[in-house]
């Protein structure tokens, strides 16, 4: 073996060692699919998409290279920083489209709530690892308070989509940590009861003059629209209506790449971001959608395997929660676009265009790889 080849081998070992090949393969497939879809939905964004993908790779590699216990030890600091920034947003944040979500750091805008999507499960996983072997109901109470504080600040911005994701992330950790079934049952019953009461009274509550305490008008409208999207096809129900038309008209095998009429004649809103699933379903049909869902399923299964085989309680909780966050993203996004759920601003993981969301998702992938890597090594 020549020295050069040896050097190359050690370099590639250095580069590839932190990565989980299975996860990396699934991710590459997803990103390739994204590239094809984006080449139809928004040709002008292809170059920056490539840049995003490259940065994402670097980010994943860096995170994957850090041992999981070290990652967990960052968690409390990250959490405190996140809460401070959220308070900062409340005090000095920039307002755009009626919501105060952004913090201007001088060199660019930053959305602290995004940080919380990862910081939250990490912090709770770190916390439960600390209390391992002696977890009592007090610990769950503390955890719930830790969870509730940033969620409250995010709802206040308001940013319903992120609030849903952050609280989901926390709840998953609580669940995996062994939150008693009594509590889970009580929450589920209360939730279902609330939905039932809402459906019964929606006719009255959705009247334009009715104000919902603590919610902006547009949020109320989104919930009401989901309940009866056909009522106002040209106004609030327009987005859902047009995206269901796009999906439904795709049929079994789709209209073909770049042939989607809903997409290309501008009937579809936000076609390169939150509604990109409708583009896939319109142009590649039921089959194309199943392929995408299959890729996500593979990703989730890999995540669950990593969680099941993780070396410590903290890493187990973190891997399980991160996997479930991916699922939440997918389910809420596709559910929204297909009219199953109300419109909340949740992107389709790795497919929707957008830098901030990609950073979060890559942190998640990096964490999973780091956890996988840590027990493989030893």
């Amino acid at each position: 073996m020549s020295a050069a080849r040896q050097r190359f081998a050690s370099l590639s070992d250095f580069l590839l060692r932190p990565l989980d090949p299975t996860l990396a393969l699934i991710l590459c497939c997803l990103l390739a699919y994204t590239f094809v879809v984006m080449a139809s939905a928004s040709v002008g964004r292809l170059e920056s998409l490539l840049l995003h993908i490259m940065l994402a790779m670097v980010l994943i590699w860096i995170v994957a290279s850090i041992p999981p216990q070290r990652l967990l030890s960052f968690a409390p600091a990250l959490y405190i920083l996140g809460v401070v920034l959220l308070v900062g947003v409340d005090l000095f944040g920039e307002t755009s489209k009626g919501a105060k979500r952004w913090l201007n750091l001088g060199f660019g805008r930053f959305q602290p709530s995004e940080l919380m999507k990862i910081a939250m499960p990490m912090t709770l996983a770190w916390f439960f690892q600390k209390r391992e072997g002696s977890t009592g109901w007090q610990d769950f109470l503390i955890a719930i308070i830790v969870l509730a504080l940033p969620v409250f600040l995010i709802v206040k911005q308001p940013d319903l989509g992120t609030a849903v994701l952050v609280s989901a992330a926390g709840v998953f950790v609580l669940f995996f940590a062994g939150l008693p079934w009594k509590v889970i049952g009580a929450v589920l019953v209360t939730g279902l009861l609330a939905i039932f009461i809402f459906v019964q009274n929606s006719a009255d509550w959705c009247k334009p003059e009715v104000q919902w305490p603590g919610m902006k008008q547009y949020q109320k409208e989104r919930v009401c629209t989901m309940h009866s999207p056909k009522k106002d096809l040209r106004g609030k129900g327009f987005h859902i209506n047009q995206s269901t038309i796009a999906i439904g008209s795709g049929g079994f095998s789709g209209k073909g790449w770049r042939e989607g009429t809903q997409t290309h004649l501008s009937f579809l809103p936000e076609r390169h971001t939150d509604f990109i699933f409708a583009v896939i379903a319109e142009e590649f049909g039921f089959m194309g959608a199943l392929v995408l869902l299959g890729l996500y399923l593979a990703l989730l299964i890999r995540g669950f395997i990593i969680a099941a085989t993780a070396p410590s309680l903290g890493t187990k909780l973190l891997a399980g929660a991160v996997t479930m966050i991916f699922f939440t993203y997918v389910f809420v996004n596709i559910g929204m676009v297909s009219g199953l759920l109300p419109v909340v601003g949740v992107p389709l993981p790795f497919v929707s265009y957008g830098g901030t969301a990609l950073v979060t998702l890559c942190l998640g992938i990096g964490i999973l790889m780091s956890i996988r890597h840590s027990w493989q090594d030893h």
Binding site: Q262, F286, A289, L300, F304, A308, K316, I334, L340
Partner: protein, 683 residues
Amino acid sequence: MISFREPDDNSGLFIPRLLIAVIAVLVGGIALVAKLYALQIRDYDKYHTAAEDNRIKLVPVVPRRGEIRDRNGVVLATNSYDYTLEITTTIPGGVRPKARPRTELDNTIYELAKFIAIDKKDRERFHKFRAENARLTSAPIRGALTDEEIARFVGQRYRFSDVDVKMRMTRSYPFGQLASHLVGYINRINKDDAESLELRGDADNYLGTEHIGKEGVEAQYETALHGVTGEDRVEITAGGNPVRLLGHSPATPGQDIVLSIDIELQKVAEAAFGERRGAMVAVDPRNGEVLALVSVPTFDPNLFVDGITSENWARLRETGVPRAEQNKPLLNRALFSAYPPGSTFKPFMALAGLTHEKRKWTQKISDPGFFWFGGHQFMDDKKGGHGGVDMYKSLVVSCNTYYYMLAADLQIDRISSFMPQFGFGERSNIDLPGEATGVLPSQAWKRKRFAKAGREHQKWYPGETISIGIGQGYNAYTPIQMAQAMATLANNGRRMQLHVGQKAVDSDDNVTEFPPELVKEIDVKPEYIDLVRQALGDVTRFGTGTRAFAGATYHAAGKTGTAQVYSLKGGKYDKSNERMRDHSWFIAYAPTELPNVLSDQPGIALAVLVENGGFGAASAAPIARQVIDYWLLHKRANEPALEDADASDVDNGDAAHNHAAPLPQAQDGTPGNPAPTPRGAAE
């Protein structure tokens, strides 16, 4: 160092929880797949249709409206193209177009006005149009752009993304006021029109059409003139902008309508009226073609095409003018105004008398100058009476007493059942809209007319029959009914359907003729018709029409009539008031023996009415003379005759013997040739 080891107690709880999470993921995944299946497989047809409806817009292709031409091909109504400056009135993009704020539009207008003349009226019309046509995305600010103005705008176009030059089809009537009641006009489709189009299932055919025929031929032949709207299938974006043409089915242009009208004859007739009010209908008795149809005063139909201004409308409606002094230029008197026929009714009374054998041709009555009936004295037209009067003389000198007696003998039922065959009291069903029925009085009519009054008012009194005999009393007929009755007489009792449409010509020059149509043969013995015709022929030589037809090189038959105005209204007769004067009638036909319809020899029958014209002989008859002069001789007033060839033929009183063409009902053995009455008898 962490090593492989059995999970501790916490991990024991973790794995089942993870399994529950996996189950939750699978349930969620199945829910998504089920939803996608429902959308993409089960309801595919529904969403496919919805997507197609979204992207495909059917754009109507408006057909070219047919022209209206006279019998010689002279264009009476045609299309012209108008270049207009249009401003986008809605915000582009979005699905529901939003109206642009007025300040923004006014700004654009302000900028445009810097180099294109836009006055206050243009602005007002623009905002009015915008308000009334909210469904349209643009509104015209200025029409009739000159080439220079267009060039100026094109130079500045880059500054105006919201302004466009558009070509609009408009209608123009080259003869303006001439024959406007006949030709009619088009106007913008209003709400009522839209409703009636919807009702007759024609709304789709008018999707892109802005105008519709409102009066005259334009309204009557609307369907043929309009044509069939075509359709472009256009792919559009959500914002409504066209992307590409998917399919095209062309429009079928409207048919040109050729009228039997001769616009030159119309011109002569309208000129003959001068400033007077009245109507004239001239027809070819042999085939029912209307040659001229006059109602004066007239109006300019061009004013209506793009919505009449309020000033012009007020002027035509004579807002503020007292009712008694109104000229009513919009009223088509020829079809819609019924007047008592006066003495022009007498020839038909004579036929009724002969047919019902109440009078013989030669039977003489004695006219003392009045007629007593039911304790009331009916005055003759001539003081002291005409002496012994037979039927011939009664027509030539227009003796009232003769017809008082005849009416008394016939009684109302015989009159009211005899007259409808000439079309009295019935619509002529001419191919023009808005015709009145007139009044042919009868017992049934009176009962109905006074249904709300007491029984006394509903009863027919024999005294009321007397004035019917001389065309006064309740009866009232439209000029077209009088022309039709005279044409029927001229055509030896063959009543032809009157019509102005002669043929329709489509864009491939395929011709659809509207053939002559016999309505009915009059149930009167031919020899009676002949006798009455001979008497009418002598009216223009020895009778009441002598002066009007002095020096004519043809032989015309006619009857004067004077319809009293004041007696009907019950007001006090005031000679100084022009509006109280009698209406003047003249009905005529020429030549007295009509040439065969297949020859190119002309024939004409007409009815002239001059409102408040006084004596028929003085006012209406000279108009008839000018019209007949032009039609038979191509001679205009104060001009020498152009064609004298026929003149010698018809010069002789007994034209029947001289004419080469075979004549229907030609009868030899002229009955009792009475002594001509040389003096011009009064009516």
